[in-house]
């Protein structure tokens, strides 16, 4: 009996290899560093249809640009009791925010934890501007500002904060990535490491890279954040999702930046 199972497993493994190899040829990929879990690093863009890609390729067609424009406007709009805008402290975003989206989450010494772009935005609002904080995942202001900040790094390759603290955060993220959750008992790796390039029902699995987030997602008919996407995946596997901007998702985001290292930032991207 084991013989039969072995044979079937070999055939399956064989066909999976062929499929991956065939796809790999026409997808733009970036070389992975030594000891990286992926042999090639590929943006989610490469897994999408020509129609979806075309929406991203043309800034005038990209529906997320409405929020990018909102973010740009908010950047220089004073808000809160301190009467400050982002620009009051940070000046021209094209200079001051360049590289931020390609390197966050970063370690915060004062807070003794890793901070995402969204968290930094709310920290600034609360402490510098004395303004109300924005809700994490669906507030258009938060999405717009996050897109605007990350867009200043568009085309820049993802780089890592190599502090020992961030290494520890990424370790937790790695654990989250490889742990099976939910009634369907699946980990991120089960789909996005082992089977990218293959269809799961009508969806082609990508590597789950986050270099284009926040993204305009056709399925959402709107723009959403990295952590909203993480949450959606966990719901799909019938798991109780972690909290957006909580410790686990922040760690997972930090780890996903490692998985995407070298990949250019595309924010705001368009996905299906």
């Amino acid at each position: 009996m084991m013989k039969i199972f072995g044979k079937v497993a070999a055939i399956v493994a064989g066909s999976a290899l062929v499929a991956t190899a065939a796809f790999a040829e026409d997808r733009k990929s970036y070389p992975a560093p030594k000891d990286h879990p992926l042999s090639e690093i590929i943006s989610g863009y490469e897994f999408r249809t020509p129609e979806t890609r075309a929406l991203q390729d043309d800034d005038f067609e990209n529906p997320a640009y409405i929020l990018l424009d909102l973010g740009a406007e908010l950047w220089s709009t004073a808000d809160g009791a301190a009467g400050k805008s982002c620009a009051s402290c940070h000046g021209d975003a094209a200079e001051s925010m360049k590289g931020i989206g390609a390197s966050f989450p970063k370690w915060s010494k004062e807070r003794n934890k890793a901070i995402t772009v969204e968290q930094q935005i709310n920290i600034c609002r609360e402490e510098q501007m004395q303004a109300d904080t924005w809700k994490w995942t669906k507030d258009p202001n938060m999405l717009g500002m996050t897109i605007f900040v990350k867009n200043q790094s568009r085309g820049m390759p993802i780089v890592l904060d190599n502090s020992p603290e961030m290494e520890t955060v990424r370790k937790l993220g790695e654990e989250v990535y490889y742990t099976r959750y939910g009634q369907l008992d699946m980990s991120c790796a089960n789909c996005h490491e082992d089977y990218y390039g293959n269809y799961i029902r009508a969806d082609m699995l990508s590597q789950g890279q986050i270099n284009g987030f926040p993204t305009y997602r056709l399925k959402w008919n709107g723009v959403g954040s990295t952590h909203r996407r993480f949450k959606g995946c966990m719901k799909n596997i019938r798991a109780n999702p972690f909290k957006p901007q909580g410790e686990e998702f922040t760690a997972l985001e930090a780890y996903m930046m490692y998985r995407a290292v070298g990949l250019p930032i595309e924010t705001p991207s368009v996905r299906n």
């Binding site: 199972f5 079937v8 499929a19 742990t179 008992d185």
Partner: protein, 148 residues
């Protein structure tokens, strides 16, 4: 209206099915000898479970020529054509119940009749199996029709 009624009754049936008492099923040498319900499976019902997105959704991962009329066959699992020639009833039952105890922990395939060893299950699905015992038997009966 009729459609809505059908959908509602489907949801109702599903919740009844998962509220049933979960039986202890032993997998020995990659096989489960006895029917989980003592009743024979219904291959027609099993086909519906196989393709139903809110039921087994087996088609999400497994291509199946027998269902060529259905769109969107997945690619992450082995193709089901001729699966009855490769496995016995008892082996198929074990694979549907908990394939990890047959193929090993690495498999992507969820266990369809198992509530132990799961982590962070959504409240809605807590303590529930993906399929009812009868649905497992129905899927097995359907798989047994897939001969080449």
């Amino acid at each position: 209206m009729r459609f809505a009624a059908l959908v509602l009754s489907g949801v109702f049936m599903a919740s009844v099915a998962s509220a049933e008492e979960i039986k202890k099923v032993e997998i020995v040498d990659g096989a489960v000898q006895a029917s989980l319900t003592g009743k024979p499976g219904d291959a027609v019902a099993g086909a519906k479970v196989f393709k139903g997105r809110r039921a087994g959704n087996c088609l999400a991962c497994h291509g199946n020529k027998d269902m060529s009329g259905e769109q969107f066959h997945g690619e992450t699992g082995p193709i089901m054509d001729g699966v009855a020639d490769r496995y016995s009833t008892e082996q198929l039952r074990a694979i549907v119940v908990n394939s990890k105890k047959v193929f090993g922990d690495h498999t992507l395939m969820p266990a369809f009749y198992e509530v132990d060893r799961l982590s962070r299950v959504a409240k809605k699905f807590e303590g529930k199996t993906v399929l009812s015992a009868q649905q497992v038997e129905d899927v097995v009966a359907y798989l047994l029709t897939l001969k080449e």
